[in-house]
């Protein structure tokens, strides 16, 4: 693919724990183009955060990482601590989920923003202050001059998250990694924060890796989506394509499990949704994904979703499907799925 900014190739991350070796990421390959918003979605433990945090290498010391993470062709995994320090903040920046714990409570907002500018841009105090005001305006904080003198506890959750974003984009990074950036926020505040991301991309051309479990947020803002399950990408497609034609049974299961799925026209209906009269004996039901996520300790040569999959057949437990391009690709971009039986409706299988 031409013009890619970031490429992750066969990334594997494991952690040594008391219970054994946890295989968090088991061979993930992804690319990110300049100005693209890529959503990494999946449930807890799917490896989405670990995958993304391997770019700035913000992983715990117990992590063992292999594969390649290339930014403009340069492999980041071999960088020294001081090279990484230059990379973080100026090329790759992170917005964390919890705006309260990721800001330092004992420094003013202004100090925390200008620290970045001193460090990476070598701006003077006066210039850094002026730039900080611009940044707070960029993320939609009213009265930025006054806010610079305030401490994090004086701000609301939405405002803190905006400050976090302002810090993250202070040096105009080319890649912004946002780890569940709106999960701790109310929906009316979330809408505004997503608008900030959109305008950053449009105005600064920032590429964004958005880690989220919220498919509504994905539908709202992402260009491309990678769905992760048990440490691997199981499906990847352009956002419209993915919601219109989810091929992997896990993706279909996730969309069917959404409480709102029954009420949105078109896309979310593939598996028949949860229609049924509310009155009388038939209650509305959500589609469940039976069973549990496999333990992360071993990696059998079988489809990891097979034990929970309504369409699993013998071949699914005999070998592990690879993430391959799918035929009848209507989206124009590559639609990849790791499944031997992609697109088979799960209704018949589940509702007999």
């Amino acid at each position: 693919m031409s013009g890619e900014l970031l490429s992750i190739e066969d990334l594997r991350v494991s952690f040594g724990t008391e219970d054994g070796l946890v295989l968090a990421v088991k061979g993930v390959s992804l690319t990110l183009a300049p100005g693209e918003i890529l959503a990494l979605c999946g449930e807890s433990g799917s490896g989405k955060s670990v995958t993304a945090m391997s770019v700035p290498q913000l992983l715990p010391p117990s992590a063992t990482v292999s594969g390649a993470v290339r930014l403009d062709g340069r492999d980041l995994l071999g960088l020294s601590t001081s090279e990484l320090r230059e990379l973080r903040g100026s090329d790759v920046s992170v917005v964390f989920q919890e705006p309260m714990t990721s800001l330092n409570p004992s420094f003013t907002v202004g100090f925390q923003i200008t620290e970045m500018l001193h460090r990476h841009e070598k701006l003077s105090r006066r210039a850094a202050r002026a730039r900080a005001v611009e940044l707070l305006e960029l993320v939609g904080i009213p009265d930025p001059r006054r806010r610079l003198k305030e401490y994090p506890h004086q701000l609301s959750g939405g405002m803190r998250q905006r400050v976090m974003i302002a810090i993250a984009v202070a040096c105009e990074p080319r890649i912004l990694i946002a780890d569940e950036p709106t999960t701790a926020l109310d929906v009316t505040i979330q809408a505004g924060v997503l608008d900030v991301f959109r305008s950053l991309r449009d105005r600064l051309g920032t590429a964004i890796v958005l880690i989220t479990h919220d498919l509504g947020v994905v539908a709202d803002i992402a260009d491309r989506v990678a769905v992760m399950y048990a440490g691997r990408v199981v499906e990847q497609a352009d956002v419209t394509e993915l919601f219109a034609r989810p091929l992997h049974p896990y993706t279909r299961g996730l969309l069917g499990a959404l409480p709102g799925a029954a009420h949105h026209d078109g896309a979310a209906h593939h598996d028949g949704g949860s229609e049924a009269g509310r009155d009388g004996t038939r209650r509305r039901r959500l589609r469940e994904i039976p069973g549990m996520v496999p333990a992360p300790y071993d990696d059998p040569a079988a489809c990891p979703f097979a034990p929970r999959c309504p369409v699993a057949a013998d071949d699914c437990t005999a070998a592990r499907p690879t993430l391959d391009p799918q035929p009848d690709d209507a989206g124009g971009g590559a639609h990849l799925a790791a499944c031997f039986h992609p697109g088979v409706s799960t209704v018949e299988a589940a509702d007999v």
Binding site: S156, V187, L215, A219, D220, A244, A257, D265
Partner: protein, 327 residues
């Protein structure tokens, strides 16, 4: 439907020093019919959880009246509350902190039976096993401890504990918010099934509109300590009237890119004001895109305007029209 619970003009102020008070709940009235699920929706700080706690008397209301099953329980003594607590149970949001880690699952679920002297010994064990199976856990699970369970399993234990006495009302405070979507689906299905089978009433407190759309019969929307609109589920979703309800509905993204990107969003300016000093008049007027002068001075009553069972607290909603919310 006869009302099982009637809350009238409930107020809960928390003292905040220097004579000030956090006005967490400021005049909330609501009713829940027998076998009805009322979804209480609002964002953080709206006071929705405080309403739930007041109903259970886990916190003492400042004023107002709570009538449960014909008895005024607002000022019942602790002793008299014991019999009420047999009939009203709660399911908490966080399945990690709401189960005692030193108790086995069996002890946790048997605790209400023991407290209310409903069953003990062998009968209690039988009841516990039966209840565990009802919530989709194997009876052997009673020997396990909370740390051995997944989030979804813990929340099932929380449900079993709430239901084992056969309550008339269950207050469920964000019971699925901490769960992954696939686990959330199975807990929501379970809750609807149990509610249909056992017929308890439910106050379901949540910030998630799609969840109440799935399971509530009626919905009440709270903003900054007050109910701004309530009505049957279909009406709230097809004919939302209060500007806040409409902003809330439009802000929740739908999982469909084409539809989501075409939606017109009602953008609310600013943040939720502090409950220490809520705005005068209509509490929503500082963020309302269509507020007029009257909204800043005159408190709107929660009163039916367009449909008898669908009261709304907004000066601008009339019989023929709801205010147009421009982008």
């Amino acid at each position: 439907m006869s009302d099982l619970l009637t809350v009238t003009d409930l107020v809960k102020h928390y003292p905040a020093g220097r004579g000030r008070a956090v006005r967490a709940v400021d005049g909330v009235s609501l009713t829940i019919g027998a076998g009805e699920v009322l979804g209480l929706v609002g964002e953080s700080g709206s006071g929705k959880s405080t309403v739930g706690k007041c109903i259970l008397r886990l916190t003492e209301p400042t004023s107002g009246r709570i009538v449960f099953d014909g008895t005024d329980v607002t000022h019942l003594s602790r002793r008299a509350m014991r019999s009420l607590r047999r009939d009203v149970h709660i399911v908490f949001q966080d399945p990690y902190s709401s189960l005692n880690p030193r108790f086995s699952v069996g002890q946790i679920v048997a605790e209400p039976l023991r407290q209310h002297r409903i069953a003990s010994g062998r009968t209690a064990v039988d009841k516990v096993c039966e209840m565990l199976e009802r919530v989709g856990l194997r009876a052997e699970m009673r020997h396990r401890y909370p740390h051995e369970l997944s989030g979804g399993q813990r929340q099932r234990v929380g449900l079993a504990r709430a239901l084992v006495c056969g309550p008339k009302l269950v207050v469920a405070d964000e019971p699925v918010s901490a769960l992954d979507v696939s686990v959330q689906a199975s807990v929501l299905n379970l809750l609807t099934d149990l509610q249909a089978d056992l017929g308890f009433s439910c106050l379901f407190i949540t910030h998630d509109l799609s969840v109440v759309e799935f399971l509530a019969d009626r919905i009440a929307v709270m903003y900054l300590g007050g109910v701004v609109e309530s009505g049957p589920r279909e009406q709230i979703f097809t004919d939302p009237q209060h500007p806040y309800t409409r902003a809330l509905l439009s802000a929740a993204p739908v999982p469909d890119p084409a539809a989501q990107r075409q939606r017109r969003r009602v953008v609310l300016s600013g943040d939720v004001p502090s409950p220490l000093a809520p705005p005068s008049g209509c509490r929503f007027h500082t963020r309302c895109p269509v507020a007029v002068d009257r909204c800043a001075t005159e408190v709107p009553d929660l009163t039916p305007v367009r449909a008898p069972d669908h009261p709304v607290a907004c000066h601008l909603v009339t019989e023929d029209s709801v205010p147009t919310l421009a982008q």
